[in-house]
Amino acid sequence: MPVDAAKVGKSRQGQDLERLMVRYQNADAQAGVALVEVLSPPLFQFFRAQTRNRQDAEDLLQDLWLRVHNARASFRPGEPVLPWLYSIAHRVRVDRYRKNRRVWQHEVVDESTLLNAPAQARAAASDVTALLSQLPDSQRELLIMLKVSGLSLEEAARATGSTVGAVKQKAHRAYEKLRKLLGGAQ
């Protein structure tokens, strides 16, 4: 069943996810399959926006589902599923980043080159992937959680183990950086 990930939360879909998680904890394999079908597409988008290629994103997603399998007892019925799930996804991303740190650094485009480039190059660089690769990992991940995965500020704060205030500040800094990349100071 298609799911608008941006609206999942305290909505009816959020409550459906909670029910599926409870059944999954009770060893209902069908519930596990349903969770994978519903949540894998937005999670794939989450990882794909932060990786070099599809294969890496799929590897991360598979790692995530293995961890979810091991961590399922730590989900509490009555709590929202998305912060729980995305906190594990956040950790998967951090662990993989630490492992492959050098590979990512080679692929980051130099910011000053980008800002000094002629208008055509800047227009090309407004491509999302190029823009996002300019941001620090934590800012990039946060924007993806908020804009792609549709998490609320509260959910993103819980997923990243910080406070709502810190999340707002980080998002603001991310937009500030994007503004500079898109075309100069005001």
């Binding site: 596990g32 730590s74 662990d95 819980r158 603001h172 994007l178 503004r179």
Partner: protein, 267 residues
């Protein structure tokens, strides 16, 4: 309405007012920011989805969900004090009797507060997606510094008479209590999932170290700053170090297990 206001709106996820939309219409940069579509065009392939289903459902057994934060914290604190009583009584309570009333209240009060906050921090660490009320690093820093400062204030003597001879007995008792309590607390927390195993190991190690410090506080009648700061309080950094190593081992083991599981599915 300025460009900064627009960025503030976007970062807080607030709907854009008429004034904001009017600004965006006239500002190419804000327009680009507001309309940036972060979604990628790629979609998941069906065969990948099958692998994920296998990963999520292989060897599925029923599990009991974690108790609430309050219940877990209470359990940890109760275990802590039961352990202290059980470990300190056989080894003697000379330390308890050697303290003056003011020292007793302040020193044990500080240890009790540390236990409360550290237990809460541990429960946060083993519950993915939990609300963060405490910054784990700051909690440990404040507690550690606070206990050292309080020790310096309460126990002025810096005598080092028979320093090593008396000290290594306390070290052995404190270290064995810390290790035993670490095993006990880890067992109590086994249903949780440490999202950051090394950090969880550090804070659990600190908690176990606190149990060593508390047992020594009850047992040891030597009230000199040099002795307490060296042979008692060393349980804290020792616990954190051992906890960090344990966390690293858990992380490596989980990584290997996932790698094997992925290889198994690929075949």
């Amino acid at each position: 309405m300025t460009c900064r206001d627009i960025r503030q709106c976007l970062s807080e996820g607030r709907p854009l007012s008429a004034e904001a939309q009017a600004h965006i219409a006239g500002c190419p940069i804000c327009q680009a920011l507001a309309s940036t579509d972060f979604d990628t065009a790629e979609r998941l392939e069906p065969q990948a989805l099958s692998r994920f289903k296998a990963a999520a459902t292989n060897g599925l057994v029923a599990v009991r969900p974690l108790p609430s934060d309050r219940q877990l914290t209470f359990l940890l604190i109760a275990l802590f004090f039961c352990f202290i009583i059980g470990a300190a009584l056989p080894s003697g309570t000379a330390g308890l009797h050697a303290l003056r009333p003011g020292q007793l209240i302040l020193y044990y009060g500080a240890l009790t507060l540390s236990v409360l906050f550290t237990a809460s921090a541990i429960v946060q660490e083993i519950t993915p997606g939990s609300r963060r009320y405490l910054n784990t690093g700051r909690v440990l820093l404040v507690e550690g510094a606070g206990i050292v400062l309080l020790t310096a204030l309460l126990f002025h003597s810096v005598s080092t008479h028979r320093f090593v001879e008396f000290g290594h007995g306390c070290f052995e008792l404190g270290a064995s209590c810390s290790l035993a309590s670490a095993v006990l607390f880890s067992y109590a927390l086994r249903g949780g999932y440490p999202v950051a195993p090394v950090r969880t190991g550090i804070v659990t190690g600190f908690f176990a170290g606190l149990s060593g410090v508390a047992v020594l506080a009850v047992h040891c009648p030597l009230l000199t700053f040099a002795h307490i700061a060296t042979w008692h309080l060393c349980m804290l950094p020792l616990g954190m170090g051992v906890g960090a190593l344990a966390g690293l081992l858990i992380q490596k083991r989980a990584s290997l297990r996932n790698l094997r599981a992925r290889s198994g599915e690929a075949r």
